[in-house]
Amino acid sequence: MSYTLSEIHPDDHRGMAQVRNLLEQEGIRRDGNLDYTCGIFNDDWELAATGSCFGNTIRCLAVSGRHRGEGLLNQIVSHLVEVQLARGSAHLFLYTKPDSAQYLSDLGFYEIVRVPGSLVFMENRRGGFDRYCASLSPKPQEGQSTAGVVMNANPFTLGHRHLVERAARENDVVHLFVLSEEAGPIPSAVRRELVEQGVRDLPNVFCHATGPYLISSATFPSYFLKDSDTVIRTQAELDLRIFCQIARRLGIQRRYVGQERSSHVTRLYNEVMCQKLPEAGIQCVEIPRLTRDGAAISASAVRQAIHDGQPERIRDWVPASTYDFFTGPRGASVCAAIQREAEVIHY
């Protein structure tokens, strides 16, 4: 029997239907967001194996039961790695079912974390996640209380500041993780800079980049692109398991989080967090939003004001450093980028 490996375009309805059938047959849910799909077809042009990419991840891998043991998975993964390298992504991540993880570990992928009975998350760097954890400081000390905060800070507001201040007051050390993912008009370097300036006077707060490991398009694509609630919950759980690993290394005992009303995906994430973190022995502290004139301060509102061309409206909502940035010369191009966006509110 001879096989043909071929890309399957999103508008190839017949091919895509075959992919969906094969994934379903193998008990895998097709992700809503994929940007490359390929398949191996047999002589009768039946799909024998498939795999897809999204960003720097490889996912939706399946081999038909009738074609096991022929090395088709190896061909699929080889091909997808080449596709990724051609796009310029060398540090790759992969999702698979727990019972397939051993095959992938033979193909140069190493386990980061697993959600039992659901999925295993892997990367193609031996000890990549360990190196990330090792790069974070300060290390835990006996008798110290340590807190963690994860924020997008898009951009940093007084609401974020309120949350960090509270954590800094109640703990000896606060690890503040700022999302590294480039998503939206405000560059991650700017977000990071504004956070650092905004917490400069709090000596026990330490800023870190999340890298690809927390709320990134690798761990949590549905944070950035719409998907169904089941998908959001699964990805949130995976993300939180990674957080628990990091928390264990840094001795983080509690995580502070702002209450969420408007953003659907953040609310679901917080819901899963309040359930999963205590199971791992981490306290989850949910703090009511800081309000101004009866309305909760939110980064979405800040972006909306800039989008509407009224940056002076944000003065009461953000620290001086953030205000100065957006009204100053360096912020002009970022403001223009925000104004070009059709939609600035997080779904």
Binding site: G71, N74, Q75, V77, S78, V81, E82, L85, G88, A90, D106, L107, G108, N124, R125, R126
Partner: protein, 100 residues
């Protein structure tokens, strides 16, 4: 030869090896995994490092996922990945020179 961008050559199929090269952080760093690590690990490592040296690669992060490739295959995959990483794959392959 200077590694300018990440590049890959080879496959994960049996008797082949997938070689990825990326710009390094000073020196050659080799990450090797092989289905025949116990039997041939040292030999594979030596072949890869020797080939890199012959190509004049002194600063690279190299990942080899070996599936039982012969030495000649390994050499070819390493050479190809290096040439791709410095945009030389289409022209100027130094046959008979550093490629032997």
């Amino acid at each position: 030869m200077e590694i300018q961008k990440a590049a890959v050559a080879g496959t994960l199929e049996s008797s082949d090896a997938q070689v990825t090269v990326e710009p390094g952080a000073g020196g050659v760093q080799l990450e090797l995994s092989s289905s025949v690590m116990n039997q041939y690990g040292r030999q594979i490592r030596a072949t890869v490092l020797e080939t890199l040296e012959r190509l004049g690669v002194t600063d690279a992060q190299v990942t080899v996922v070996d599936k039982g490739a012969l030495d000649c295959t390994l050499k070819a995959r390493v050479e190809c990945a290096v040439f791709r990483s410095c945009g030389q794959s289409a022209q100027n392959i130094p046959w008979g020179g550093v490629v032997r």
